[in-house]
Amino acid sequence: MIQIFLWAASYLAIYFMVLFYLLLAFDKDKKSTFIRHKPKITVIIPTKNGEKRVGLVLSSLSKLNYPKDKLEIIVAANGCTDKTVSVAQKFKRYFKHFRVYDLPFSGKGRAFNYALARCSGQYVMCLDDDTRVEPNLFKKILPYFVDRAVGAVVPQWHIENREKFLAAIQIPEYASVNYSRNLLAQMNALYITPGNTIYRKDLLLRLGGFDEYVLTEDFEIALRILKAGYKIKFCLEGVVYTIVPDTLKGFHAQRLRWARGFIQTMAKHKDVLFCPKAGAIGLLMPLIIILSIIATIVSIVIIGGLAKSITKSIIYASNYLALLKSLNFKLSGLIYSMSPIIFQCIILLILGTIFVFICSKKTRMKLKWLYMPIYLTFYQTILTLYWLFAAIAELFKFERKW
């Protein structure tokens, strides 16, 4: 039975790889066109206990190459028990339109919606408090909105703390995700508007703002934008720098939240599946879900197999000499004990490695090659397990933490 899952997972993974290569072949490097008109932009920074982070984001905003009178900055401090508000207030002198809301309630979506209802910009950017923006970001992003059908534009995410071990492993992932999003946007199948996206404010208001209850409001709003018939574009030239979790605890919390948020959102928007109105994502999403489920099952089997092998090694290690001998025996016999599915894995590994390399070039994210084997094998396997954790958490209704 598991063999069927393995073959199915390898087929679907090859399918997505090929699809991305095809989109890559069709992709033409676009350069942003210059627009003279400078609309007013509101940047909303929802933050909770972000006294140590908010300075970074506000400092980078103060260096934005954009007219000060066309820029509105709102810090939506929600449920803060630290000095976030006073730290943010210190940056008031750098901006013409600057407000800090000290909100008594918690929740990113709720805080964002509160600020959205009170802001004056034509475009709204939701900016995470652990992020730094590049000075010319708006100049690169705004031309995409010339097309009236574009509802949101997503810039690239680069990793700020790339020197940390866990962050360094995530570099190929962020490079691939960035460029894959760019490719998906080409067929109007970009289905997420992560923190740091710029939206048309009138569209957001018409859609009722962010969903305040799901864990991934950025994914949820993206589906509503697509369902409303708008496009989500990706701006490869525009870059924001974010601090990714570099501790296991932080990483676990983030990935679990993302996976749970995905399940919640898909449960809410099941109608997207096979929905022609949602565009290509209506066809791709079922495949993504099937691949995620199969990959999770395969990962459980792989991890189970690894645990078994480790147990075997421990048993053999009870006699050191026997361990050495058996290893010798096993290595010589390895060539005979491989499953033919290994060839599909080799194909995937080659396609995946080349793709990551291309993505790193296109996104200008410098890879740390030493971490690639960990990323391609161990990291990918662990990631898929989060679907299982999230499914359990949702099934048993564990507390939802942002």
Binding site: L23, N188, S326, F329, G333, P340
Partner: protein, 212 residues
């Protein structure tokens, strides 16, 4: 903008092609593996036939070269054991040539029993006797795994002169069923040491005691 349906259909066609290539290579690999084991098994069967013929001839002419027999038997049982270890992995990983690889594995079990019989015959007429162990195991059973490791370690201490024959307890082969019945083996792991059966996991010290 790229037409989504066109890209997805084209991706389907190309992915199916690439996937099919992987299957073709996988099939060729499985076939090459089976071919390799067929060759090795044939050559071992030939060696065994050679041994039996030599023995028969020496019996007819009234000579009994125990030393030569012992050397040949030791060599044969070592080679057979080595083949078995590889064959076990190949049988569980084969996808496209399962029937043939299972057939080869069954032939290997039969060869093991033939060799075991030849050693028993040798032990009746020659000294020093060759220690024999029949090891009945169950695939993926933790205790069977532990017993296998203990036997490997033990044989190492005896310079690979103990004739260990590993037999799959769940095999449908009549000859294995017959051996189980003959020695009264009902559970795994089970060892038949020089004709005496012991069920359950046995320690290395216990085995050393039985063999000394």
């Amino acid at each position: 903008m790229v037409k989504p349906i066109r890209a997805m259909v084209l991706a389907f066609v190309l992915a199916t092609g690439i996937f099919a290539c992987g299957i073709v290579v996988g099939q060729a690999y499985d076939r090459a593996k089976t071919e390799h084991f067929t060759q090795v098994l044939r050559s071992q069967e030939l060696e065994f036939q050679n041994f039996l013929t030599q023995r028969e001839f020496l019996e007819i002419v009234g000579e009994n070269d125990c030393n030569a027999k012992q050397l040949l038997l030791n060599d044969l049982q070592y080679k057979t054991r080595k083949l078995g270890a590889k064959l076990q992995g190949a049988a569980s990983s084969s996808e496209f040539d399962r029937e043939r690889i299972f057939y080869i594995r069954d032939k290997y079990f039969i060869l093991e029993v033939q060799l075991y019989g030849a050693i028993l015959a040798y032990n009746k007429e020659c000294t020093p006797k060759i220690n024999t162990i029949l090891f009945f195991y169950k695939k993926d059973q933790l205790d069977s795994l532990k017993q296998g490791a203990i036997l490997d370690s033990l044989n190492e201490k005896f310079n690979n002169t103990i004739a260990v024959f590993s037999l799959d307890f769940d095999s449908d082969l009549d000859v294995i069923k017959m051996l189980k019945r003959y020695y009264g083996v009902k559970s795994t792991p089970a060892l038949v040491i020089n004709g005496k059966a012991y069920e359950g996991l046995q320690s290395e010290d216990f085995l050393l005691e039985q063999l000394s």
